[in-house]
Each structure stands twice: as C-alpha cells, then as structure tokens.
C-alpha cells in the first residue's frame, strides 16, 4: 500500500486551440456530405470496386494496392450496402440502397484529422503554437483538400496517413531516450507508412523520404561514441524492424485480406494464370475441378498460351486452309490453319498421341507424359496433326508456319513430332501436370518452338491470333509457353464418339490450391505490369499546370441547375506556398554557403530546426511532385494534393523564421504581424468566395460563375437556358 498515493487524481490538460481547430476541421469536411446524392467524379471508378467487394468477386485494379478500396468497402459494409448499383456515369442519382453518408464519412474523417496533424507537426518541428494554429487554419481553408475529402476518394486518406507517419516519427525522434512510449510512436509511424503505401503507390515517395531521414538519424546514432556498440545495434535493429520489416509484413497482410475476401471468379479472371483462376470459386474452378492431374498419352486437352498479350487465348484449329497466296504475294503451304482463339470452343481440343502407337485413348494405368517425351498433337474435331515446316508464317515471315497437316502429295512430308519441354520442372523426369506445368513444345525436325506471335490474321483467318514456329530462339518468353487448362482422359476410339465426348463438359472433383505467396506474387506482378490504355481526359493536366493551378476538374454538375462542384484550390494559399518555398530555398542556400565560410547568422539549433523543417515540408513537396514528370500515365490535379499539403506547411515555418531571426526591430515585427493578418484574411475571403464551388451549394447564377473564373484556363460549366 506504500506505493499508492492517495487521493488518486487525474490531471487533465487540454489544448483548447487544438480542440478548436479540430472542431473546425470536422465542421468544414463533414458538413452535409450526403449532398449531392449522386455519383461524383471518381466515385464512379471506386464504386465499382466497392460493389465487387460486397459481392466478394475477384478483380484487379492496376492503379493501386487494395487497402484504399478496402477502406471504402468498409464504409459500404457499415452502411449495409448490397453492391447493387450500376456505376456507369458521373452524375447518376444514387438509388435508396446506397448508403451515401457511410460511403463518404471515412475519407471525410481522415481529411478532417489532417488539420490537427498539421498542428502537431508544427509543434514537433519545434515551432510555436502560433505557427501551429496558422498551419491548421491554412489547411482548414484549403478548398481543394475539402473537396477531395468530402467524397468517396482516396487522396484524403493518403494524406492523413502520410502526415500521421511523419508526426509519429518526429515524436519518436524528439522523445527522451529510453521511454517506452517512444517505441510505440515508432511503430505507429511504420504502420502509417504501410497504410499510406497500401492506399496508393504514391505513398511510397514519402515513405522513402522518411526512411532516408531515419537513415541519416541512425547514422548519427552510430557515430555517437558515448553509446556502447550493443546499444547502438539494438536501437538500429529496432528501427529497421519497425520501419522496414513491419510495413512489408503489413503490406502482405492487406493482400492476404484482399484475397481472402475476394474468392469468387469475376470479370478479370482471364488476366490471371489458369492456376490462379482455379483457386477462385466459380469460373474455371468449376470447369477444372476433378480433372486428372497428370497428362497422359491419349489425354484430351486445351492448351492455353502463357502470354496474355494481346489477349489470353487457346491453341485452335478449324476447317479452313491458309490461302495459297497472301496479299503480299508470298505463297503458303495451303494446309489447315492453326491459330490461337480467345474464346472457349470445341475446336480448342487437342489429343496427345504417342507417335509409336495408333491408340487415341488412355490405357489403364495411364502412361503419363514426361519432360523430354516426343508427342504428336491431333486436333480433336478435324483429326489433323499439329505440324510445322520451312514455310514462312503468314504475318511473321521470319518464323515458320504452323499448320494442321494435309498431305497434298507435293513432296511436303509431315513433320509433326514435338518434344515436351517443361520449363518449371523440378526434376528431369517430371510429369506434365494439368494447369501447373508450363510447357514449351519444341519441334523435333527444325527445333522451332511453338509460339504465339501476337499478330492477328486477316479476314481469311477470321481475325484470330497467329501461331508460329519460332526458329530464332530467344530465351525465356511467356509467348512460347503453353499450359493444359481443361483436361480429361480420352475414352473413345471412334472419331464420332470422340466428337461427342469433346462436346460434353469435363467432370468431377478435387481442388487445387495455390499458396498465398504464389497468389500474391502473381497478383502484384500483374498489377505492376498490366497497363491500361493511355486515355486522354477532358480534365487531365500536366504537372507544370499544377504549381500555378492553371487547371481544375469539374466533379459534379446538377442535372438541371448551375450548381456544381469543382476541384479548385485556394489560390491565395497556393501562391503563398509557392512563395514560401522560394524563400526557403533562398534562405537555405544563403545560410548554407555562409556557414561554409564560418559566418553564422543564426544559432546552430535554429539552423538545424530550419533544415529539418525543410526536409519535411519542401522535401515532402518535392518527392510527391517531381516524380510525376517521369510518369507517362494520365495525370490530374488531384495527384498534386499530397505535395501541396506539405508545401502549405512550409508557410508558417518561413513566417516564424522571418519574424524571429530576420526582423530584429519591434516595429518591423509589428508591421509583419499586420501583413500576416492581412494574408490570413485574404485566404479566408478566397475560401468564402469559392465555397459554392466547393460545397456545390448555394447555386450561382451564370454571371456569378463567370466572375469566379479567375483564370482563363479554368473550365467552369455553364448551363444554357
């Protein structure tokens, strides 16, 4: 009882300023978010994924990792959304089953919490409460951030996690050594980084910035000779675990949840490998369940190309021959066409035949086909052997034509032996397995490899894809790989029975499971490599337009009136931010060069504070902005918002620095305070002026709208009456 002091008291300190700015943040972001009750801008894009989550249908979104979609889906789940809404057009009215408020509340909450985070960031950088209030006021009255927070979009969530990661890291760095709290801040920082990267790949830039900052700090730590080697090792290891290993594990975790949730087959199945598809319920799994695993002589198979460019397809043949002469005058063998066909078809079935035997059925016990075996491939419906010879292919003259062999008796012998080369084999006598084995078919006579060339045949080939024998053997490429997708053991010796057999669907059961890591690797690889066709958009812009905000985006227009919502920033704030950045660079260079000559204008502590603030604010701006110059995708103004958030935080840093270190006389300081007040007032006025375009109400007349078009290049919509 000695240890407890009585009475038990709780001391509570509340920073009223912080509470007040937070309240304003909530007010500006959350006020009336269910208006408009219609699809606003990119909600049309994100919404479809939310619906797919609700229906647990698998999809691929190459624009970013799944966490962002999952957060949005959580909003839908909380509101009891059933996934039934056709996300087809911006401006479409939501039906009553769509919980608009819960959809939008999570991004709005994240957006509002950016305001107190801005406040805390200033404090952690060592600036005064005045600067902190200034920073949060600028964030509160930033129209672009408000607009982006109020709808089912991801930027506000991203910015929230970015700021949280930075604040938490600075807390960790500033905290006294040895307190337990310190480490929890570090872990919070690491996980916020993971969240940010999980929402959008853009988060990676700030994460890398933070990592480099941490690396520099760790380097100083290593140089600290007062610490013992063991202590240094422990500290550095913990930082490495929290900032690198933890985020990586969490990132995997997002995908784990994503893949666990989405276990039904859906519209994007075709992009994935057969094995992946087989792991989804419905779709291919239904077809392939219960197929025999080992391909044997006499098996009936469909062969899917390993490359999904331009489309996934199956080896195919049909009763039509190559034309005797092509358009360009070259001749062909006039034998039966062999193509690759992107749809399921009975003509995709092939029978694997042992060249030494006549039988087309699987004997019992089955004789499996192994790596290195020689086979013939017989087309199921037309009974032609897969053949290739020294005749130029129709679209790729450098490669050999592949045909279904017809003997025209013109001294063109059949060359229909193929060697099975399993590329992902474990041993040299590995058995050819359905779905799992990736096989190269090497022609015995010419050592050409069966390859999907990617070109489409003209009309005579029904615009199907060309298949060639590739003599120029150029290493590993997916277009040379084939895998068995559908498979059954052939039972019927007679052609007619066999045709019937081919037309009946394959039968029964056993499931195949891919490990999570295999699925993750495949999905991640697809997301990084699949590129949607570059599309021009009316509101797309170039990074150079963003600095001066020469562009805007119309998010929503009322179906009958002039009420509309635009992504337009607070131009006063943006100008001030540009100015602050410029002044910072100027100050930094001046101090840097003068310090090099041992002229110290400001004390060392202030200098270090200024550098740290610059790394976070200007550095944050630079890493979130400059990489866009290298990107080739369609860009929009909202891509600039993370950068501009950091840039805005630079303003109070510069203001406080000028006030304390540059203006020495009180009269100057007084005058400067006046300037600051005036600037804040104009920020407020600008915010109020653009409020109608930010909140979509009240409706403005055409004349008022025209007066809001401060820049020629802004695209504001006028309804013709």
């Amino acid at each position: 009882m000695q240890g407890i002091k009585l009475p038990i008291t709780v001391n509570c300190e509340i920073n009223v300023l912080l509470v007040a700015v937070t309240a304003f943040g909530f007010l500006t972001r959350l006020y009336g978010i269910q208006f408009p009750r219609a699809v606003v801008f990119d909600e049309v894009y994100y919404g479809q994924f939310v619906s797919l989550y609700m229906k647990r249908v698998f999809f691929i979104d190459e624009s970013g990792p799944p966490l962002g979609h999952m957060i949005q889906a959580l909003g839908g789940y909380l509101g009891g959304f059933d996934g039934n809404f056709a996300w087809n057009r911006i401006g479409a009215e939501y039906t009553s089953n769509v919980p608009v408020w819960t959809f939008r509340v999570l991004p709005a909450l994240a957006g509002s919490l950016c305001v107190p985070l801005g406040y805390l960031l200033m404090l952690e950088l060592g600036y005064s409460h005045f600067a902190a209030v200034g920073a949060s006021l600028l964030l509160i009255m930033e129209n672009s951030l408000i607009v982006q927070s109020r709808f089912m979009l991801l930027e506000s969530v991203l910015i929230f996690f970015l700021l949280l990661a930075v604040v938490a890291y600075l807390r960790f760095y500033n905290a006294p050594n040895g307190s337990l709290c310190r480490w929890s801040w570090l872990i919070l920082s690491g996980s916020s980084c993971a969240f940010a990267v999980g929402v959008k790949y853009m988060g990676l830039f700030t994460y890398l910035l933070l990592l480099s900052l941490a690396a520099v700090h760790a380097w100083h730590l290593i140089g600290d000779k007062t610490l013992s080697n063991g202590k240094v090792l422990v500290q550095v290891t913990v930082q490495l675990l929290a900032l690198v290993v933890l985020p990586a594990i969490m990132y995997l975790g997002f995908f784990y949840i994503h893949l666990t949730l989405l276990n039904h087959s859906g519209p994007h199945d075709q992009m994935m490998s057969s094995a992946f598809q087989a792991s989804l319920e419905g779709g291919l799994a239904r077809v392939t369940q219960g197929q025999p695993l080992e391909v044997a002589f006499g098996s009936q198979v469909t062969l899917r190309s390993g490359s999904s460019k331009p489309v996934p397809c199956w080896l195919h043949s049909h009763k039509a021959n190559y034309p005797i002469r092509y358009e360009d005058g070259r001749g062909s063998s006039h034998q039966q066409q062999v193509t690759c066909y992107p749809f399921k078809d009975v003509n995709n079935w092939w029978i694997i035949k042992d060249p030494r035997r006549q039988s087309l059925v699987v004997v019992s016990p089955p004789r499996p086909v192994r790596h290195g075996d020689i086979i013939q491939l017989l087309h199921g419906m037309t009974s032609r052997f897969l053949n290739t010879h020294d005749v130029a292919a129709p679209m790729s003259p450098y490669a050999q034509e592949v045909s279904g062999y017809i003997d025209f008796n013109v001294s063109m012998p059949a060359q229909n032996l193929w060697r099975v080369d399993i590329t992902n084999r474990e041993s040299d006598r590995d058995v050819w397995k359905t779905i799992l084995s990736e096989v190269r078919l090497v022609h015995v006579n010419t050592s050409a490899v069966l390859k999907l060339s990617g070109a489409s045949l003209p009309d005579w080939g029904f615009r199907q894809l060309e298949v060639v024998g590739d003599k120029i053997y150029k290493g590993y490429h997916q277009s040379r790989l084939w895998n068995v997708e559908e498979h059954r053991y052939g039972r019927s010796q007679e052609q007619r029975e066999r045709e019937l057999e081919l037309k009946t669907p394959t039968y029964v059961d056993i499931s195949r499971n891919l490990t999570f890591m295999a699925k993750f690797m495949e999905l991640q690889w697809k997301m990084l490599t699949v590129r949607n066709e570059e599309s021009e958009h009316k509101y797309s812009s170039l990074p150079l337009d963003w600095i001066t905000m020469d562009t805007n985006i119309a998010y929503w227009l009322h179906p009958s009136s002039n009420a509309q919502i635009h992504l337009i920033g607070n131009i006063v704030t943006w100008t001030l931010a540009n100015f602050a950045l410029f002044v910072y660079v100027l100050l930094f260079l001046t101090y840097l060069l003068r310090r090099r000559r041992k002229i110290e204008d400001i004390p060392k502590a202030s200098w270090e504070q200024l550098v740290l603030a610059g790394v976070i604010c200007s550095g944050g701006w630079a890493v979130n902005y400059l990489p866009f110059f290298l990107m080739e995708k369609t860009l929009f103004l909202y891509h600039y918002l993370p950068a501009v958030t950091f840039q805005i935080l630079q303003i109070p840093v510069i203001v406080e620095h000028i006030y304390i270190h540059i203006l020495r006389s009180p009269s100057h300081q007084k005058a400067f305070s006046g300037v600051i007040l005036a600037a804040l007032c104009s920020v407020y006025l600008c915010y109020c002026t653009f409020c109608p375009l930010t909140y979509g109400q009240p409706e403005l007349t055409s004349k008022q709208l025209a007066s809001l078009r401060w820049k020629e290049s802004w695209d504001i919509l006028f309804r013709k009456h």
Binding site: P310, S447, A455, Y473, K474, G475, H477
Partner: protein, 768 residues
Amino acid sequence: MMEDSLHVDHCKQRQSSPALRNRKQCMATVAKRDCPHIEPVLPEARKAHRMCNTSRAAFNGTSQKMCRRWKRYCHSDDVPKYHLLLVVVLSLCTRFYKITEPAHICWDETHFGKMGSYYINRTFFFDVHPPLGKMLIGLAGYLTGYDGTFPFIKPGDKYEHHNYWGMRGFCAALGSFLPAFAFLVVLELSHSTLAALIAASMIIFDTGCITLSQYILLDPILLFFIMGAVLSMVKFNQQRLRPFSWSWWLWLILTGVNLSGSLGVKFVGLFVILLVGIKTAWDLWKLLGDLHLSMVDFVKHLSARIFGLIMLPLFLYTTVFAIHFVILNRSGPGDGFFSSAFQSRLIGNNLHSATMPEYLAYGSIITVKNLRIAGGYLHSHWHLYPEGVGAHQQQVTAYLHKDYNNLWLVKRPDNDDYSDTPELLRHGDIIRLEHKESMRNLHSHFHEAPLTKKHLQVTGYGINGTGDPNDLWQVEVCGGKQGDPVKVLRSKVRFLHHATGCVLYSSGKTLPKWGWEQVEVSCSPYLKETPSSQWNIEDHINPKLPNISLCVLKPSFLEILLESHIVMIRGNSGLKPKDNEVSSKPWHWPINYQGLRFSGVNETEYRVYLLGNPVIWWLNLFALGLFVVMAMGCSLTLQRGIKLEGDRKAHSQILMEGGGLLFLGWLIHYLPFYTMGRILYYHHYFPAMLFSSMLTGITLDTFLHNTDLLFSPAVAKCILRGSLTLLLFGVLYSFYLFHPLSYGMSGPLAHDPTSSMSGLRWLDSWEF
C-alpha cells in the same frame, strides 16, 4: 588527404634527400617491377619510386628545373611505362585482329556507315543522335579513300571493292584507347599498378568490348570520349595543389573537350557530364570550406570551371552542329522531319529558293504539314481502316516523308468548276479537300479514332470527289479575322469539321502495322490551339496564280539548332519497342543475360555475336557486391570512431574516394535506363561496364591486400598470390574460349556437339 601530404612531404624532401640512397631503393623497385607477377606496390615503395624518378633525373645531369617542368607536363613520374606499353600493345592486337572480317555490313553499320556516306555526299539526313560521331566516321572514310558510293542497304550486304576498312580501323583505334585510359584512371585513383593492370585486362580481354570496337559504330567513339573525360577529370584533380598552372588548365580544358565530344556523339554523354558535374561541385564545396582561400580566389576557381566545363563544351557542341549544317546542304531523306522553314535551306529541296503562289486559292494543289515539330504531312493512301477500327473507309494519316500521296486539292463546298480568274480562299471559308491520288475527300464522322479514343476518326470518303456533307471543313487562320487570305508557309491554319465542330489533329501516336506505322490523324473535340491542331500549307501549285520567291523563310542558326534538338528528342522517345518484339531489359545487362547478333543467324553464315566475356562480367558483378560490402564496413568503422593506421588508412581512402567515384559513375551510367521508355539494347550497358571494370581493379586490389584482417599474414600472402594467378589464368582462358564470339564463328550452332562453341552456351538465352 594522405596522398597530398605525402606529395608535399616529398616535394620538401626532394632538395635535401641524398640522391644515392634513393637510387638504391629505385633499383629495388625497378627490379621488382620486372617480374611478371607484380609485387604489391606499397606506399613506401611508391614513395621511393617517385623520389627515385626525380633523383634519377638529377643524377643524369638534367637540371632540377627541367625535371620539374617535364614532370608538370607529362605527370608520368609514377606511370610504369612498360606496363602501359604492354596494355597498349595488347589492346591494339586484340582490336585490330581480323578487323576486315566479315566483309559485309554488320548490324548497325547499315545506319552509321550510311550516315558517314551522307557526309561525304553532303546529303541531309535525320538521325536521333547528335552528329559528331557520324561526322568522324565520314571523315575517317574520306581520308582512307572511301568515296561514299556504297549504299549500306541492309546487314549482310557485301562491301566488295569499297574501302570500308578505314572506318572500321578508325573505330578500332579509338576502341584501343579504352584499356590504356582505364589503366591510367585506376592508377591515378589508387596509385597501385596492380589495380590498374586488373582493370585494363578486364577491358582488353572482354569479347564484348572487342566486338563493339571493331565495327563502324558510334559506341567506340562515345566510349573513347567518356573515358577521356574521366581520365582528364582525375588528372585535373591531381593538379589541385598547383591551381592555375599550365597543366591544370590543360586538363581542365581537355575535360571540357571530352565532355562536348561525348555529348556530341550520343545523348548518353549527358551521364558523364553529370558525373563530372557532381565531382566538380564537390570540389568547389571543399574549396569553399577552405578558409585559407579568399573569396576572390574562390570566384576565380568557380569561373575557371564554368568556363572550362560549361562554356567551352557548349561552344564546341554548337560548333559541331554548325559544321553539320554547313556540310549537309543538299536535300536528302531527312527533309520531311523538319519544318518548312528548315527545308528551304537545303539545295535540291523543292522549297529551296522556290517560287510559288503566295495566297491559297480554290483549285490549288497543296501539301499540308502539321506544325508540331516532327509532325508529318497530311497523307492518305489506297488502304482502308481495318474492320473494327471505326468505319471501313480509306485511311488518313500523317506521314513524315515527301510523297505524291501527300497532295490535296482545295475545292469549293458545292461545285467543282473553276472560272479562269482564281478566287482566293479566306478565313472562315468552307472547303472540301480532295486527295489528289485517290480522289476521295477528307472526311470525319462520329466514330472513334483508332488510337485516341476520345477523338473522332478521319477518313477518305467518296468516289471521284463526290462525297457527303461530312466532307466540309472550315478554314481558320490562327490570329486572323473574317476575310483574311491564307498565306502559304506562313499562316497557321486550322481545319474545323463543319458537321461535328471538331478540329483536324495529329496526335503523334504511331499506328500499328495496318497503318504502315504512320502517324494517327484524328479530329479532336477539344478546341485548344495547340501545334497538334495547327497546320501550314507547304507546297502550293496553282498555274493561274503568279509565283513569288520565298527567301524570307531562312531561319537563324539558333532556330535550326533548337528545332533539330526537338526533332532528335522526339525521335528518341518515339523508338518504342514494337508489339511482339522481345526487348532487352536493364536487369539483363550486368548478368550478361543475352547478347546481340552482329552478323549471321544460320549455320552456314559467318556469325559474330556481341556478348561480354562471362568470366569477366560475372567477376565484375561479384566485385560490385564486394565493393558495397567493403565500403559499408569501412564507413561504419570510421563512423564508430575506430582509428585506422598506415596502410589500412590509405587503402580505406582509396576505396572510399577512388572506388566511390567509379561506383557513382557506374550508377549514373546504369540506373537511368530503368526509367527510359524507349527501346533498349544490350550495348547500352558498355559505358557502365567500363566503370564497373575499373572499380573491379580497385576493389580486388584493396581486398587482396587486406586479407590479413581475416587470416594470418602468411596465409594472406598465399591468398594474394593464388588469387592473382587464378585471375590471370581465368581471364586468359575464358578469352581463349570465347574469342570466336568476336572474331567470327561458322559451322553448326552451339547446341550441336560438333560445333566449335559446343559446351560454351552456359546460359540458355545466349544465341550462338
């Protein structure tokens, strides 16, 4: 800074130290250097060696002053001449062996040889690289009696009686400099002959470097300038204790000259400029921190570098272009890539001192050129859009070459008869444009364009000039008003589609094969005035109008310089990999994953395959990893405040500064390729490979001399000897094994056991 202090010390000692004692040591080092397996050159020995040079000079009766001057000019006081000579002889032998084989065009010789011929014939052409390399090839050809008549049509064509050896010999000569340069650079950075020899042998015996040097290509020239720049940079750095001396200026200026040379050959030269820039900025930063140096002196340093490394290279670079434009004054295959104004400079071009009617009139026959730089002529041909791509009508494209299919006839909206007095076309008029060859009208309609899906498709429509109302276009002169006539060449014109209100637009995207890889033309609903939607009238034929002369167009030198750069950059970024072409990826390169076929595919042909010597390349890769580990270990040790003594300190300094510089060079010449969208080839890695080889020299040398950290000194010595023997044997034997890659193979391919190369296809992806 250890080397500096050493240097200073020895300068001080020079007068006082008794020559005799030094001479003894000198004899000892000379004796040591004679044996083939070089003893480690320890700092002590080096010091002695340096001193012995001076003392020997004094001993021979040459005055101290002469000696100093001689030293200042040649700086060869610590260059082991016999080793350098060995390197030079070996590299000349390997580069010039079988230089004339094969006697046919190999790989890109078809381009660069052709461009060399263009210089000899003074014909204008377009290439994505700056002109210096091709100019030098042309010059070499000219001097060795090549007359520029060989057409260089495609790889495999026989040269027959044409004098091609001169151009190849020139490239091989420049290529032979590389090992010597590497030797000198590494020697300068590490002061170790062993390291320099390792680096040089990596390059001498690399089959890739040999192959790349033996043909008429830009790469040997580029590599020569890059290595030259690096060598001059380190030599300049050596002079830092004697600022503003003659030799200081000499190396500074040589650096600048080499920089402009490398940029003048290929834009990859920018990377070495970046390297030199970083190094220079770092030097300046150190100078700024030196408080003994007054600000005036600092400004002197700064402006000397600005002059030598920025102004001078810029001047030389523009001079190269000026020479290029002066030499190539005749019209040729490259004309169409350039604006009308540019073309008017070229003799033989139809715009050169041309006369044509000034104002456009109905009934005129015209060509219409897009205003985007490297935008093409409005073009159509007898081919339809394929099924599924908009309407099945005749294609309209933009085409960069001059062609009779670029001709269009200006017609009234309604009737086709023209009175004798021509009526001028004015701003706001509605016209039809009929394709002269196929007699179809320029047409647009509500079908999406083939590539730019938000735009409308533009087609050729109608028979014999009769179409429908969708053939009507409104002519608008930019900045003009109602009633302004349309001036040939000088007016910027837009064509607004009358029915849909969209504007004729050239997106710059290349159509797939069905469109003959010409550029897409579409009708854009976004009416912003951009060069893509603006056109000018280039050729204008109308016999009823009086012709005027068009000399006014002549552009200034700066204008053509700027234009040719934009065209080159466009051309470079336009080199995208084709649909089903397997392209080389940057990660393939350091692991020597796949080479390039220079000549021959089949068993019957004479084959040359560009592939690095795998032993050397994998050793380089290993050394890169080793360097990173060693550098990290070293900097961690220093950061923890552990003091290094004597040799160890010198080695760590060499590793961190010399090695660091080369490592930075490797990074700068390698990493940027990951961000490039254009098509990449294996040979792009060779500049980085040279840096990597030099780094291998320093890394292995430092590593082998510090094995006593892990083993006892006796074992360490054994390791040093053993690994050097192994290294020498490995490099020579692998060169013996793989030399047919460079010097030609014939007979069966390597997968055949009877082939001379059988068993050497260590990776499946090698194609020989």
